[in-house]
Symmetry: C3
Subunit: 311 residues, 3 copies
């Protein structure tokens, strides 16, 4: 029996394949349950604290929705301005303080390792909702859940990851999980934003087939799924280089027509130009369903770490 | 049978007279119900998202109170700083994202038309809580509800609207609704802040009696109700002009004594100097009751758009 | 019978000894009750408004936890930026507005006397969560509750208050309450941050034994309890003086070993350097238990002012 009771959720690679299966199954259970009822009573009386030292409306509201759909309550710090951090308090002290209030803690902080510090300080389970360039494991899990639902299986997948593969914590965590299911991976990026060599070589060592290319269409033709990410202007010193690169990684109707097959498209959002809004109505455009799936996956994680998961 | 189920609330002029009657009746029902019980269960399990790209504590807390008095839950973005908008996300994308979390969405945004964009993107009902210089329909509805309650009827009203009639979205929406009930209107403002000509002429075309003047006392003598608004310093290039104008639109005990009859006084608040605090105890000073009425009217709107209104 | 129904909580010295006993007893009841159940139903349907014109995550979340553990709901203004105050609204008007929404109001504001203004304007009970250099009575009450629990009694206490005794509203309110129980007080501070003369002489007039010293160890040897506070850099013109002073008021393992007896250590938090994290595991280190006690004490106050306290 898989149990996450009392555990912290800190890193994409902390999960066994069995645990991921259990999370997916539990999320699926909640998805079905919410079709019959708006909210459940599983975490009635429990309190979630969301501590966002770095603001993220999307992620914070997703967790707060998940908690409330489970019947629980929320206390919330939406930005660091209003925190004791301004007075020089350590993350550990803040976590230990909030531990006196809440039954489970979600933390986002700009510094790598901060979620771990919070987890070490607090008795309550701590969930990492992004620690700078570090990890964002619940995003990776909701990606996996979405892929399973959209494609029916996680086995024998052919996945193109596109955009800024160098800095994206989302794609780093995702390939960790995908590797458990032996996916075939295409890394599509400009030269300057390639997947870090250490990740690529680790994947290869584990026997994962990895192809690197700058050509999105070529990769897409050999894939079932495109995982699109935003290329951030700030990463470029040469703005003309940015404009050139950006222009070559855009999903629009032309591209999809050229593929002559159904393609599943994911994106962690927010997007800027990299997916044309015309594509939103395309059956394979799954990025808003992906957002919704985030609620189910976070419901699963919250209920499981509190030892209240359904069987 | 009037039904607003699934509808968006975007504009003061979207309502028929019948719909306004139904909203007033439903608000009245909730006002009575809250005298017996602190909260109801009508929206138990439902989630409201309040998205305030432009902060407004008063309006946000009014909606959040209304939702919770109905037994529902809230997720909240209190200011745009903490939003994906900073990363370049469109209002439509933000709305469609939050649509995956919430059952109903309230939005305030500094740009005209933004609430409509959100409504087009989201499946859940969207309520406009102010879109820049555009509309603020729930304020107009709570004004109407307050007038009905304070004066016993909406028929044959004589109303003075005072202050900045040029820029005030509140008074623009209010006169739309008042015109449905054939009120006689006095527009009282300095020359530079007159009601826009197009609104005045439209009203006249519809057969509404409109008088324009700079003299508040004269207008008050011929009215049952004064709707006061704040004159904003920022609107004036010439500060001495501002001081002169401001001084001539102030409600105090002297003015009320001079009227020799009961006058009902409304104000959308916050006020600065335009109503003297000495007036607060005056029986016709209805502006804090108006605030409370906002909760009942928003309870009515939330329950009606969710198809849960009482009969 | 003690009753706080409908009363405001504004000042540390507003309570009789009997009332403090009742608060402690009620807080103790809630502490026990929460061991059996995550939340209660005592304030079901009631709404708390937290108005923080000056941010304080710790205090705000403590109140919001307390309210929700009692089954109540919360509406929240976490910082003044998003408030009508920016438009020139008085605290009284804001309070009277929020009074239309909520059943009880907690306010923090940077100006002395602001909580009293809010209380005068609102019908609902108002709780002062800090008004600038003024009062912070719920902190003093939770300190008293913690002392009672840690030491078993409030009688014949010997207490060292250490650090910035000049500016700390926390210690000012605490000595008020301690004086009711005839504690023996040691004031330990650098010369420039001594307890204000008027407080010291008032205490002495009431027959309280007060000793002033700059030597923390000497005072600790003659005390059962050290109440530690942060020395703020901003208070010093001469930074070398700050460094010297700061260094002499630090609790670490060496100090505790030198005392050769168990010492109870409290701190209102956040701390910076004045208590070494190595001390956290020391049995007498009670400052995180103190944080948790804040929830029980605030549950007591919320339920008592709403007339819903248990017997």
């Amino acid at each position: 029996m898989v149990s996450l009771k009392g555990k912290d959720i800190l890193h994409g690679n902390q999960f066994s394949k069995k645990e991921i299966d259990a999370i997916i199954k539990t999320a699926g259970y909640f998805e079905k349950a919410l079709k019959k009822k708006d909210s459940l009573n599983l975490l009635k009386g429990k309190i979630l604290a969301t501590l966002f030292f770095e603001p993220s409306t999307r992620t914070r509201l997703s967790f707060e929705t998940a908690m409330q759909r489970l019947g629980g309550r929320v206390i919330s710090m939406a930005s660091a301005e209003s925190s004791s951090a301004a007075k020089g308090e350590t993350v550990a002290d803040t976590a230990r303080t909030v531990d006196q209030y809440a039954d489970v803690i979600v933390i986002r902080h700009p510094r790598i390792g901060s979620a771990k510090e919070a987890a070490d300080a607090a008795e309550a389970p701590v969930i990492n909702a992004g620690d700078g360039a570090g990890q964002h494991p619940t995003q990776a899990l909701l990606d996996i859940y979405t892929i399973q639902k959209e494609l029916g299986s996680l086995k024998n997948l052919r996945v193109s990851l596109v955009g800024d593969l160098k800095n994206g914590r989302t794609v780093h965590a995702l390939v960790e999980l995908l590797s458990l299911f032996r996916a075939k991976l295409h890394f599509v990026s400009p030269e300057s934003l390639r997947m870090p060599e250490e990740i690529t070589s680790q994947l290869k060592e584990r026997g994962i087939e990895v192809m690197e290319t700058g050509d999105m269409k070529e990769a897409a033709l050999a894939s079932d799924l495109i995982y699109m990410t935003r290329i951030q202007k700030e990463r470029f010193e040469d703005l003309s280089e940015y404009e050139r690169v950006k222009g070559s990684y855009i999903i629009n109707e032309d591209l999809l027509k050229g593929l002559q097959k159904k393609m599943t498209i994911l994106h962690p959002l927010p997007r800027v130009d990299e997916i044309n809004p015309n594509v939103d109505a395309y059956p394979g455009a799954a990025y808003f369903r992906q957002v919704r799936n985030g609620v189910f996956v976070r419901m699963a994680l919250l209920s499981m770490v509190m030892g209240k998961a359904v069987d």
